[in-house]
Assembly symmetry: C2
Homo-oligomer: 69 residues x 2
């Protein structure tokens, strides 16, 4: 697994956004953005997806069975 929290944080910084701005853009609460950056894994998948979309981050799943997207 990758450090999702750090990934989100670095992308947010690169985009020049504060946690609050990112939260608003993603349509979620600031606390949740904070939690995601802290790698709290009990957040909703939908909330993570919302953040990733704003930051233009894609998700890929890989396994020995999948050589595709």
């Amino acid at each position: 697994m990758v450090d999702l929290g750090l990934l989100v944080k670095s992308h947010r910084k690169k985009a020049g956004l504060t946690q609050l701005q990112l939260a608003n853009l993603a349509g979620i609460g600031k606390t949740t953005v904070f939690d995601i950056e802290k790698n709290k894994e009990t957040v909703r998948w939908s909330n993570i997806l919302a953040v990733l979309q704003v930051l233009n981050i894609e998700v890929e799943f890989k396994s020995p069975l999948t050589e595709n997207v």
Copy 2:
């Protein structure tokens, strides 16, 4: 985005597991496994991770900024 539900389902089948068995192995409820396979995005990230671990599926995040893992 990929069809995570279908991905989980196909991997589960390949592993010869029922939803209930997968749920038990992942330490979550059968309802949640069902929800994941139905692409319900309001499930907890931790529960998705638990299922992915059992099925040996890895997660990757990609963006124009990340050429690495």
